[in-house]
Symmetry: C2
Subunit: 364 residues, 2 copies
């Protein structure tokens, strides 16, 4: 919906090194916009798949490109960045590794031309990896953090902005260290917490996991992430992650002490942590990048058979009501679902009437 | 959809003490089935609201009831249970507190008639509390854990099973200690983890929270819970929660040590934790109470205006395709949403064709 053909046309030829999820997705987006994309990967199979999917053509070598996107696993990123800077003396090189300060430092240590290197981190991912999971719209509406080094040329930064714009992402400029501290908080620590909670489930009985509700499901969803990739990410961002985890551990220690302390002193500390969690949670931006929005939520009982959602949303659409959020929750052990519909408070009464007219079972 | 009028008719008159979310929801379900429900609450406002919503009639006092449901805050539950056992010498008393061993112990200490007390815990809740958030279908398809004490009469256990059946829940019998250890793992520790992660967001800049993605949102969703209620719950289940948190802290300590250790030894330990999280996450049951189901997932780009969901689900419904799960994700800063549709793998190709015919922008 918001890929940008003009930005893509300005870019000209783009080289993509590494045809996993991110590299192939960049290739799909740019190729769809008519940009010439040259693909390479150390795996002939991954390369063939990406080319076959329409992400670009295998790189014949020796073709100059205005921009080279290094989308390899993070533990080899710096080395490939340096290699690409040396191989094509005019190209701008960026990367998509999710940790930035270490890559910049290592590229400098390798003696590469830092004026042409500008690190990047598209904040987009999926639970699946590899070229088959790639999508041309993967970056649409997502932040694409750009981390110029002190020696990066302004025109090279502009090239990476063009890339973000072409694939529909929103460019955010940030210092590499700031970026790494930020992703430790918003991405790496949540991943660790999800894994720590999910690891508790490894040895409990089936009776226990049968009591799992939506809360546990939500907290542990990202615990399904790829161990190899997450090991590389956490290892590459060890210092900022350890700093945040140490602070989390101090809160955890205080909570354990509080729960072991009978009486009101302990309880006050417990309430304090839950309250701080409330405040932190409130800070997460809502839809469309604004502040967290309060919606009116209605729950509709959905028989689990084809056509019900169609009938429901046809009713809602005919009434001109815009649904802000949807959650379909299945009742364990039963062929019935509960559909939660969120609307702006101003639309609630109209939605209630519409559902009543349609004969839907609903409780506000 | 699966409230049970026969079970409700067998129950006869039911007294509900405490008209918050759970008590009012019990009243709404039973009243809808024609059961006489007598309501009381220490707050005249909460009582009047619950009665007005149709949850039952204010308790005039002195009327015998086959079953008394104590749905007060957990820190006064045992005391009210003992009071109700004494006030009505024939009634069976149950409660809905989310921690069970402490209530049973305290009821015994108060010298109450333990043969007529059977603890219960309906595993249903919402982010909102109070009678206005109540729903007659709150318990439909949810587990309702029943924890008889050693002295509970079998006929009294049957009364509580009838209640669970009447409101559409699935009765699960469990020892009180087993229950408390189970909810520490599946509910209380996830709550603490969500609060610990969300608490980190309290003092970061807006630039940092602007990078928040769906992972952070999911991990911290339940951190929005009520501090007073959660303080009572964690305080009442302190020993099992501390045991689990101590085990989590040991994993956290090992992870921090591993991240501070350069080289492969540390990385192996990091990978080990993420891998254990993978395995634990896989154990959470999927839809309809079965094992975790693998779905095919397709993502559709949704313009953010009324009628789009209706048009989409009408197309899907006309093709006879059953959607298993839905997730609508809004792109930050843009008026566009990404709708993830999960279907059984056997339905994937048909869904792909249906979406293509309807002109939907989709990537598999």
């Amino acid at each position: 919906v918001s890929l940008d053909p003009d930005a893509a046309a300005t870019l000209g030829t783009v080289r993509v090194v590494g045809t996993g999820l991110l590299g192939t997705s960049v290739g799909l987006a740019l190729s769809a916009l008519g940009t010439r994309v040259l693909l390479s990967d150390s795996s002939p199979t991954a390369l063939a798949l990406a080319a076959d999917l329409g992400a670009g053509d295998p790189d014949p070598g020796g073709v100059p490109a205005r921009l080279t996107v290094v989308a390899t696993p993070p533990d080899v990123t710096a080395q490939i960045v340096a290699r690409e800077l040396a191989a094509d003396p005019e190209t701008t090189v960026t990367d998509v590794a999710s940790v930035k300060a270490g890559v910049l430092r290592r590229v400098a240590e390798l003696g590469a031309d830092l004026s042409r290197y500008v690190g990047g981190h598209p904040m987009a991912g999926r639970e699946r990896s590899g070229p088959l999971a790639a999508r041309g719209d993967l970056f649409v509406g997502r932040p694409w953090v750009i981390c110029p080094g002190e020696k990066s040329d302004t025109t090279r930064v502009f090239d990476v902005r063009l890339l973000a714009q072409a694939v529909g992402a929103g460019a955010v400029l940030m210092d590499a260290g700031e970026h790494d501290a930020a992703v430790a908080v918003v991405s790496h620590v949540p991943q660790v917490a999800a894994s720590l909670v999910a690891a508790r489930l490894q040895h409990v009985t089936d009776d226990v996991v049968a009591l799992a509700g939506q809360g546990l499901r939500d907290v542990t969803r990202i615990a399904a992430g790829d161990p190899l990739l997450w090991t590389q990410i956490l290892g590459a961002n060890a210092a900022p992650v350890v700093a945040e985890l140490a602070s989390l551990r101090a809160d955890l220690d205080a909570l354990i002490d509080a729960l072991e302390e009978p009486g009101s002193v302990g309880l006050t500390q417990v309430a304090g942590l839950i309250n701080r969690g409330n405040i932190g949670r409130e800070r997460i931006p809502g839809k469309h990048g604004g502040g967290p929005t309060r919606y009116a939520v209605l729950t509709v009982i959905m028989p689990d058979r084809p056509g019900q959602l169609g009938r429901l949303f046809a009713d809602i659409g005919a009434a001109g009501i815009n649904i802000e959020e949807i959650a379909l929750e299945h009742a364990p052990g039963r062929a019935v679902g509960l559909l939660e519909l969120s609307v702006l408070p101003s639309a609630e009464s109209e939605l209630v009437e519409t559902l009543a007219r349609g004969g839907w079972q609903v409780v506000s």
